[in-house]
């Protein structure tokens, strides 16, 4: 493999992994507080379409990001209402959200299919760092949202594990009864985690329509939201481990698309199956190793004080 090919593969890996980083990080937030939100796929789609519409209308990619995050956050708020306040079954509610988001995004985006993105995020070279061999032209020549993800992950880890709000958030996911007895507002924290988590899923979707593709087509995410859910298990709910998982899957996808570049002779349809098959394989291995023991103890359970 030439240096050029390696650079392109690395750059594509990071670009492919970035939406997963955003979406899975959002889900880590929600799940750490004890709420399973299976609606990631729907939230990403709504985020993607809302962001795209906003950028077409306003011409500002950053307003697109805001619109994408708000749209997905609004859907997530619906999930929080159902699961936290009404204590509905989290799996059913999440599925409803995934399906609703899918339908809503194709409904809203119908007339935007084939419309060019007037202001996609463009790659920016980081002064100094972009002079590094190989890494400079891959890791440090990316668009602004990728740099956001670089900063977000360590910050997210620090928030969860080194601050009081993070401690309280995790307590709600481990033992809401304890958290409540300690005077922590379980309902408020769960709402906030689900909504902010949804906004990150929206950011992941927005990344696709604003930077990666950058356009809107129906069902743009093609299952990335479900892969993000699997990644959360892979990462054992830890944002730092998530990065490895996301880029691992990014590299699988990148290789699929760049097989010809790498000189691999294979059917493109088979290569497109790779991310799904890889996800399933990893899930199977994790199940063997019983990694889900790291799962937040109260994940999926509604909490009510007087029952």
């Amino acid at each position: 493999m030439s240096e050029d090919q390696l650079v392109r593969l690395l750059a594509a890996t990071i670009a492919m992994g970035t939406p997963l980083v955003f979406a899975a990080f959002g889900e880590i937030l929600a799940e750490s507080s004890g709420v399973l939100n299976l609606g990631v796929e729907g939230m990403m789609l709504v985020g993607a379409v809302a962001a795209f519409i906003a950028v077409v209308v306003t011409g500002s990619p950053w307003l697109g990001v805001v619109a994408g995050m708000l749209g997905a956050g609004a859907l997530a708020a619906g999930h929080a209402l159902l699961t936290v306040t009404l204590r509905a079954d989290q799996v059913t509610a999440g599925l409803a959200l995934a399906l609703f988001g899918g339908g809503l995004s194709s409904f809203l985006g119908k007339s935007y299919i084939g419309v060019p993105n007037p202001a996609p995020f463009a790659a920016i070279s980081v002064p100094g760092l972009s002079q590094l061999p190989i890494l400079g032209r891959s890791v440090f020549t990316q668009d602004a949202l990728v740099y956001v993800s670089y900063v977000m992950i360590p910050l997210g880890w620090w928030w969860l594990y080194r601050t009081r709000p993070g401690l309280h958030l995790r307590a709600c996911g481990e033992s809401p009864g304890t958290a409540d007895a300690m005077g922590i507002g379980v309902v408020a924290i769960r709402y906030a985690s689900v909504i902010v988590g949804g906004m990150f899923a929206g950011l992941g979707g927005a990344y696709l329509s604003l930077a990666y593709v950058p356009a809107w087509t129906e069902n743009l995410t093609a299952g990335l939201g479900w892969i993000a859910l699997a990644l959360v298990i892979f990462a054992t709910w830890n944002p730092l481990r998530l990065v490895f998982g996301a880029y691992l899957f990014g590299s699988v996808e990148a290789m699929g698309f760049r097989a010809q570049v790498l000189g691999i002779q294979a059917n493109t349809i088979v290569l497109r199956m790779m991310p799904y098959v890889a996800t399933l394989t990893v899930m199977l291995l994790l199940a063997f190793w019983r990694r889900r023991l790291a799962m937040p103890s109260a994940l999926g359970l509604p909490y009510s004080r007087e029952q």
Partner: protein, 368 residues
């Protein structure tokens, strides 16, 4: 309950409305609310919601042709709904009916494409068998790791849907491509012997399959020891294990049976309506099935009318496309119904709890 409290028997307050009527009312309210929500979205997008809904109703039930088309679409919906009903009752979240339908269709199509000259009496039963088998095997792929190592079936069944769609692509762009179709992605058409006989109009024998399957599933769940085990596993996996029920085996059997029913739906689609393999074999029947099963409260009998209603919704959506409203509106309405009915049910549960507590308080207040 919070702690061991003074035990007082419930005075069994008679609710003014029976619970099953409440369940139906909540569902109707959910449907109405979903239509309202989507009407607002239609308005915001510049469509006239009333006209759109009227067009949908006409497209769904407005003519003999429309009713036939609706019944035709109800067939796969009924079969996949029965499939997911089985697994949901067992507490298994099989979200993979879409993929199981697809693979069932491919398995049946394999026979039809490779042995087109067999007599119908051999070919059709063979296709049914392969459809059942294909769906069952595809469902076992996630079921085996779920049963033995506890792998999360929600994500795995769902991811397999995407794989199944790619398998279709692989075949129709590859070895199954119709050589006369100028690279259009579909297989050659089935021979006449590989086509299901019609009952009336466009409605094929699959309707009989679906109704027969309804009877079988309802009987199996309600009147056999196996059905009791399945219901117990769903209601309390712990109790099932401690009662010595074969939990692992039941996971496999329930998933395989569920996949088989979806596979049969796929067979009926290719053999009764599409007559070839192409992209988009199913417009999301497997996902609608989840919603229908939920609305029907996992009752196989109730699933029949709900499936017909949803088939109408689907047809109505297609009818709308002529007036430029995106067909996606039907999926939005479906999902909004599920979302709002889940909300309504949870709200109802809350009201019931409060009502029970109030009745209790009144009864005790009198005693104090």
């Amino acid at each position: 309950m919070a702690d061991a409290t003074l035990a007082i028997e419930r005075p069994a307050p008679r609710p003014r409305i029976p619970e099953w009527v409440e369940a139906i009312l909540v569902r109707l309210a959910g449907i109405v609310a979903a239509l309202l929500v989507c009407a607002v979205l239609l308005l915001l997008q510049g469509y006239h919601p009333l006209l759109a809904y009227a067009d949908m109703a006409v497209g769904a039930f407005g003519s003999r042709f429309a009713i036939e088309q609706t019944l035709l679409k109800a067939i796969p919906l009924m079969l996949t709904t029965l499939g997911v009903t089985l697994t949901f009752t067992a507490g298994l979240w099989n979200i993979g009916a879409e993929g199981q339908l697809t693979i069932g269709a491919l398995a049946a199509a394999w026979l039809a494409l490779n042995h087109p000259s067999l007599p119908a009496l051999v070919l059709l039963p063979g296709m049914v068998l392969l459809g059942l088998l294909g769906g069952a095997l595809w469902a076992l792929v996630p079921a085996v790791p779920r049963a033995y190592v506890g792998m999360n079936e929600v994500i795995s069944t769902l991811l397999l849907n995407y794989v199944a769609l790619l398998v279709v692509d692989y075949l129709v762009f590859g070895s199954w491509a119709d050589p006369t179709a100028f690279n259009f992605p579909y297989s050659p058409a089935f021979s006449d012997t590989a086509r299901l006989p019609m009952l009336f109009g466009d409605v094929h024998l699959g309707l009989v399959f679906a109704l027969a399957a309804t009877v079988v599933v309802a009987a199996a769940l309600g009147h056999t020891p196996w059905g009791y085990e399945i219901r117990t596993s769903g209601a309390s996996p712990g109790a099932a294990r401690y009662a010595g029920m074969p939990v692992t085996r039941n996971i496999l059997v329930a998933m395989a049976a569920s996949g088989a029913l979806s596979g049969l739906a796929g067979m009926a689609e290719v053999s009764g309506m599409i007559f070839r393999v192409q992209q988009g074999l199913s417009p999301g029947y497997g996902y609608s099935a989840i919603i229908i099963a939920w609305l029907a409260k996992l009752n196989p009998w109730a699933a029949v009318p709900v499936a017909i209603l949803f088939a109408g919704l689907l047809n109505g959506g297609f009818a709308l496309q002529t007036s430029k409203v995106p067909a996606a509106i039907t999926y939005m309405i479906q999902a909004a119904i599920l979302f709002l009915v889940v909300a309504g049910e949870s709200l109802l549960a809350r009201v019931r709890r409060a009502r029970a507590a109030a009745a209790q308080k009144a009864a005790l207040g009198g005693a104090r």
